[in-house]
């Protein structure tokens, strides 16, 4: 009995020592990125048994709100924080995250491993690099093959915007209840996002001047207006029940979005349309980014070394990136992960089309876009201007001039 007790005690003491050595780090994350990281963790635990990772998952908006508040007070920050593309620009402009360019991180060594445009997204105006890219969302062009076939439209004829509008008219002539696209505004947005000039931001030029009255915006607005005036869009807002319904019932023939939309369509939006969808590149040689996620280290973290070890594993380890891709279908940011044989496989939901090869090609052609801390407010002002043009018949030039003035007075 005594012996057993001694052994037990010894085991307990040993266990205590191991536990004491084991560092616990926390990761703040949102769905369904948490599913990706859960698929990556077993591999990490095998390599680094002394680091225990705890996930703290909040809904998308709640996670970023909580993160903003935590940065404001310096309290309650996790050792690693996930950041979605819509927020990475403003967190980059703040001072709350570690600059990964500096030692001990020296992230410069890793930058060339990633899809190039992601680096600019996580870099501040003064050159700090605050987060490592984990997944990306190459913009792509979805269409319903069955509807186009019935209307006698050749998908490649839609590779110019004029051809696209013509296709919409043919579809409408075939069945007046089927629309070319859910909302004409999406055509404006894909044009704005995918035709950014070298060194420019979405709304600002190199020197930070507002360029929302440039031909890029005028053309984008004109195209959307042409589609609206011809009655080719269903005037449905994204992420509403009517939107899902349109996909499900096949009342919408095309959609522009990120590669990730395929996962949503397949899993819950319109699983019954399996095999009816196909993808192609955006019209007129446009390539744009539509989504993406990053991991950064808050300066207030007390376990920066371990946090960096984890981030490196999540973002630069090929096997781990492929595990994440298999879990949630988010396109890996790591270039070497994109050459895995799984990318050559056909996608069942898209009728066996080798869509991932197409998205990989798109990802390599997307040009870096300069982030600006006023991007979000500019986005809102342009969105209002677009709604005024489409819904209220306002003149395009006047709407954009007004938007420009509104953005300029916001920059102070």
């Amino acid at each position: 009995m005594k012996k057993i007790a001694v052994v037990l005690l010894a085991a307990l003491a040993l266990g205590g020592m191991v536990l004491a050595q084991k560092k616990v780090i926390t990761v703040g994350v949102f769905p369904n990125l948490d599913d990706a990281i859960k698929a990556q963790l077993p591999g990490f635990n095998k390599l680094y048994p002394n680091i225990e990772v705890k996930l703290v998952t909040l809904q998308y908006a709640d996670h970023h709100n909580a993160l903003t508040t935590a940065l404001a007070t310096g309290q309650g920050l996790h050792d690693v924080e996930a950041i979605e593309i819509g927020f990475v620009g403003r967190f980059a402009e703040g001072q709350g995250f570690e600059d990964l360019n500096k030692p001990p991180y020296n992230a410069d060594l890793y930058k060339k491993l990633f899809t190039p445009y992601t680096i600019a997204q996580a870099t501040s105006a003064d050159g700090r690099f605050i987060a490592m890219p984990v997944d990306i969302g190459p913009g792509t062009f979805y269409y319903r093959k069955d509807i186009l076939d019935k209307a006698g439209v050749n998908p490649s004829s839609m590779m110019t915007w004029n051809g696209y509008i013509e296709a919409g008219k043919k579809i409408k002539a075939m069945d007046k209840n089927i629309f070319l696209i859910a909302n004409a505004a999406d055509v404006a947005w894909i044009n704005i996002f995918a035709s950014v000039g070298a060194g420019e931001g979405y709304y600002f030029d190199k020197s930070g001047k507002v360029i929302v009255d440039s031909p890029r915006f005028v053309r984008a607005f004109e195209l959307a207006k042409q589609i609206r005036d011809a009655g080719l869009d269903a005037k449905i807002g994204a992420w509403t029940n009517e939107w899902y319904d349109g996909f499900k019932k096949g009342t919408v023939a095309t959609q522009f979005s990120g590669a990730w939309l395929q996962g949503h369509l397949q899993n819950w939006m319109a699983p019954e349309t399996k095999g009816l969808w196909r993808v192609q590149q955006l019209p007129e040689g446009l390539y744009g980014s539509w989504g993406g996620s990053f991991y950064g280290i808050p300066s207030a973290s007390k376990n920066k070394a371990e946090a960096w070890t984890l981030i490196k594993y999540l973002t630069t380890n090929r096997a781990s990136q492929i595990a994440a891709f298999k879990a949630i279908g988010a396109f890996p940011a790591l270039l070497s992960a994109q050459t895995d044989p799984v990318f050559e496989e056909g996608v069942d939901f898209l009728g066996g089309q080798k869509a991932r090869v197409l998205w990989r090609e798109a990802a390599r052609k997307i040009k870096p876009v300069e982030a600006n801390k006023y991007d979000r407010i500019a986005n809102e002002i342009i969105s209002t201007a677009l709604s005024q043009v489409l819904d209220e018949g306002k003149d395009i030039k006047a709407a954009l001039a007004e938007a420009k003035a509104l953005i300029e007075r916001r920059m102070r």
Partner: protein
């Protein structure tokens, strides 16, 4: 020996001191939770936001990294077209959603009181239900009801349109409720639906306090139901009207949840047409990270509500008090 003789008095005095202490301080200890909570969650944030309204601070820079800018936040807000548009939306919604609440609630309370002796409690509970329903659930339901093609509201309008009388003033096409020009009507509808029950309950309690003899005397004098309502109920409801209208003014000027959820937190393209000052303030603080500007909006809104409340008080307050007694 000496010790033992001095010990008891000492113990007594210690005990007395303790009980004195208790008597003196216990009340303060017992009321302290309120004051502690008020200081932490009431006074401190209020004063901090006043201080913040003279600073420029983006929260992602971290605590303490703010810069004094004087009155710049106030001058920016007062010349900001987006702020004035939100202000217009707020006042518009305040009137369009505020008035019907009372115009519906007063007769409704009267009818419930007079006509439904057995189902009084049940009926008022049903009307009160929207008030305690979660805003998120409301948003889900109304987003479906407002749907352009298949929504119940548009279907009803389309049906009414086929009737001879309604045909000429209802639109022939389905209304898109999520446009800059139409969203305010949708928000007003939700607000009316949600708060009419609350006002009905207020008026019902006031009506129940009116002595029965007054109605009996009126009916002896030959007053009809309508005359009883007009000359007995309405005048005696004045103090409650003043109170309920004050609550509506303050509540409507701070309207936030309903527009926020219907506009998808600001992601809707109709945001500018529907967002209220409170929503604009929230988004300035947490979406565009301009804490100082948001604080200045908060104080300008406070000043505006104060002025409205004073006007309401001058216009109806004294009359309400005079007649109420």
């Amino acid at each position: 020996m000496q010790r033992s003789s001095t010990a008891p008095p000492r113990a007594v005095s210690r005990q007395m001191r303790w009980s004195n202490l208790q008597r003196r301080w216990a009340p303060y200890v017992f009321v302290s939770p309120f004051f502690i909570l008020f200081l932490v969650f009431g006074l401190y944030p209020t004063l901090f936001s006043l201080y913040m309204s003279f600073q420029s601070w983006s929260q992602t820079d971290g605590w303490g990294h703010w810069k004094f800018v004087g009155l710049e936040n106030y001058s920016f807000t007062l010349t900001d077209p987006m702020f004035w548009r939100a202000m217009y939306n707020t006042v518009w919604l305040g009137v369009v959603s505020g008035l019907p609440q009372h115009l519906l609630a007063i007769p409704l309370a009267f009818v419930i009181h007079m006509g439904l002796s057995r189902f009084k409690t049940f009926t008022s509970a049903v009307y009160f239900l929207p008030y305690i329903t979660s805003t998120v659930a409301i948003a889900l339901i109304f987003n479906t009801l407002f749907s352009t093609q298949k929504g119940v509201i548009n279907q009803t309008l389309a049906y009414l349109n086929t009737l001879p009388l309604f045909g000429w003033f209802l639109p022939d096409e389905n209304i898109n409720w999520f446009l800059n020009s139409t969203i305010k009507w949708g928000i007003a509808l939700v607000v009316i639906w949600k708060y009419t029950g609350w006002n009905t309950l207020l008026y019902l309690s006031a009506i129940q306090a009116i002595p029965r003899e007054l109605y009996e005397a009126a009916s002896v004098d030959g007053a009809t139901r309508w005359q009883q309502f007009r000359f007995v109920t309405l005048p005696l409801l004045r103090p409650m009207m003043f109170f309920a209208v004050s609550l509506t003014i303050i509540g409507n000027m701070q309207l936030f949840e309903e527009p926020f959820v219907l506009l998808n937190g600001g992601a809707s393209s109709a945001t500018q047409g529907g967002q209220t000052v409170a929503m604009y303030m929230f988004r300035t603080a947490f979406e565009w990270l301009e804490m100082g500007t948001a604080a200045s909006i908060a104080w300008l809104l406070f000043a505006f509500i104060a002025v409205l409340t004073i006007i309401n008080n001058l216009a109806f307050g004294r009359a309400a008090q005079g007649r109420g007694d």
